[in-house]
């Protein structure tokens, strides 16, 4: 089997690349695919934390490149899902420690035995970005509906379009707050899509559950009740080729909105 290499990038930091990588990877593995997640944020690794595997890292990607260990030794299996593996970044080096070509070589080797290789790209447009995007054939650009994130995403999309080996790129709009969109304080999904003119692979709502799930080291896709988890699940299905309608993230989360909705629905019914 030849695996697909997918890069999760954004330009702006803190929009949810690592969270997205962890969750999509977990969701794909739950669907029965063999997945490897690669953290290329050398010097500032985080993917291990989100998966709860920080105590199991023995060898990192730099060790593989510098031939201190075999690739297989550096792959850490997930706690819950044996089809999911992590190739961790080095915490003691920086992004100049590896090149894009070296990463490509590793991906070529991994492609032979895995269905999906998901690369978590670091923030920025420098060496780290170049390294992470070299082996990829597809990209997911993560952004939030905020101005600075959208501006940086636009730059990233421009850079991705100039790379011929990246056949397609899709947009993931993260940390969406429906109540702010309603009160016109936050740009809507349509606004962002219109500005960036990129097709959307998914919309993930702001969910306090993300904080808890990071704290515990368990990706939120495992929680079937959370909206963010469901959204990530749908995105994974879309990656697998399934057509899934977008979630109605408008369902009220807090008590006040719930009561409000209850009364409004009641009045509407009485009105009829």
């Amino acid at each position: 089997m030849t695996g697909k290499v997918l890069v999760i990038t954004s330009g702006k930091g803190g929009v949810g690349k690592t969270t997205t990588t962890a969750n999509i990877g977990t969701a794909l593995a739950r669907a029965g695919k063999k997945v490897v997640l690669i953290d290329t944020d050398l010097g500032l690794r985080n993917l291990d934390l989100l998966l709860g595997l920080e105590n199991r890292i023995v060898y990192t990607i730099v060790d593989v490149v510098e031939e201190r260990c075999k690739l297989k030794q550096a792959l850490v299996k997930d706690k819950k899902n044996l089809d999911l593996c992590l190739l961790a970044a080095a915490q003691t080096r920086d992004k100049s420690a590896i090149t894009g070509e070296q990463l490509k070589k590793i991906c070529d080797e991994l492609k032979e035995e895995n269905d999906y290789i998901i690369i978590d790209c670091p923030a920025g447009i420098e060496q780290g970005f170049e390294n992470a995007t070299t082996p990829a054939t597809e990209a997911i650009v993560v952004t939030t509906p905020e101005m600075s994130a959208v501006r940086d995403a636009d730059r990233i999309i421009g850079l991705l379009e100039s790379k011929e080996h990246i056949e397609s790129h899709k947009l993931l709009i993260n940390r969406v707050r429906p109540n702010l969109i309603k009160s016109n304080d936050m740009m809507s999904v349509d606004d962002v899509q219109e500005i960036l003119s990129c097709s959307i692979i998914g919309v993930v709502p702001e969910d306090t559950g993300i904080i808890t799930s990071t704290n515990k080291g368990e990706p939120i896709v495992n929680d079937e009740k959370s909206l963010a988890g469901q959204a990530y699940q749908n995105i994974a299905k879309r990656i697998l080729g399934e057509e899934v309608p977008f979630l109605d993230i408008d369902t009220p989360q807090d008590l006040v909105s719930k009561i409000k909705k209850f009364f409004i629905d009641l009045l509407a019914k009485l009105g009829k």
Binding site: D185, D191, I195
Partner: protein
């Protein structure tokens, strides 16, 4: 007390219905508009000043053909798949009458032609002057050759200046430069000045540069040349 009740009432009403805000005040629309502008700059190398200028020139150009709402011209750079496209959206108030358009275009073409003719005439003057210079060079001694060469350079500059004056007759500073240059060459140039001034349009320059000495000289010479012309006319009659 009343205030408290009013506030409470508003809160309850607001609880059940969203008060409609003015579209332009809403922060999301502000953000969207700012983003669009910023992305336009990011995607191309046009800074705000250049963008404004481009916008102004486009408005002038399009106004010739259609009557449009100049304030509502919407200029946008958009990502059109692989390339960037410049999108222009102009609300048209009414179409201009064909006669109106053609009249304006004709006037423009005529103005252009006039300009070309003046330039041509100046070039011919230049050539004539060069020939004169060649003659004077032969007569003068070797020491003067150096002066002549520098004068040639100055002469070309002055003619360029005069051309600019015709084109930008409002440009005071150019006239001042012109004045200085003419000053230097006063002695040798008197003969050539007269020939330059026979071009009637230079008289327009008088109206603008009232302060420079050059203007005074030109006006003096213009008067004498017009006198000469009237004399010639009388003679021909």
């Amino acid at each position: 007390m009343r205030d408290i009740f009013a506030g409470l009432y508003n809160k309850i009403v607001g609880f059940f219905s969203n008060v409609e805000q003015k579209e332009s005040d809403e922060s999301k629309n502000v953000a969207r508009n700012r983003l669009k502008l910023v992305l336009m700059q990011d995607r191309t190398n046009l800074n705000p000043a250049l963008l404004e200028r481009m916008r102004g020139e486009l408005i002038d150009l399009l106004s010739k053909y259609v009557e449009m709402d100049k304030e509502a011209l919407d200029l946008n750079f958009e990502n059109d798949g692989d390339s960037i496209a410049l999108m222009l959206s102009i609300p048209v108030i009414r179409a201009k009458e064909e006669a109106e358009i053609e009249a304006a275009l004709k006037a423009e073409d005529e103005a252009k032609k006039e300009l070309e003719d003046k330039l041509k005439a100046l070039e011919e003057m230049e050539e004539a002057d060069e020939e004169d210079d060649d003659e004077t060079e032969e007569d003068d001694s070797e020491e003067d050759d150096d002066n002549d060469e520098s004068d040639d350079v100055e002469e070309n500059d002055s003619e360029v200046d005069v051309t600019d004056n015709i084109e930008n007759s409002e440009n005071q500073s150019q006239n001042d430069e012109n004045a200085e240059k003419h000053h230097h060459k006063k002695k040798k140039r008197k003969k050539k000045k007269k020939s330059l001034i026979n071009i009637p349009d230079i008289i327009e320059v008088n109206e603008v540069s009232e302060e420079s000495e050059d203007a005074e000289e030109i006006s003096e010479n213009a008067e004498t040349s017009s006198e000469n012309q009237s004399e010639d006319n009388e003679k021909s009659e």
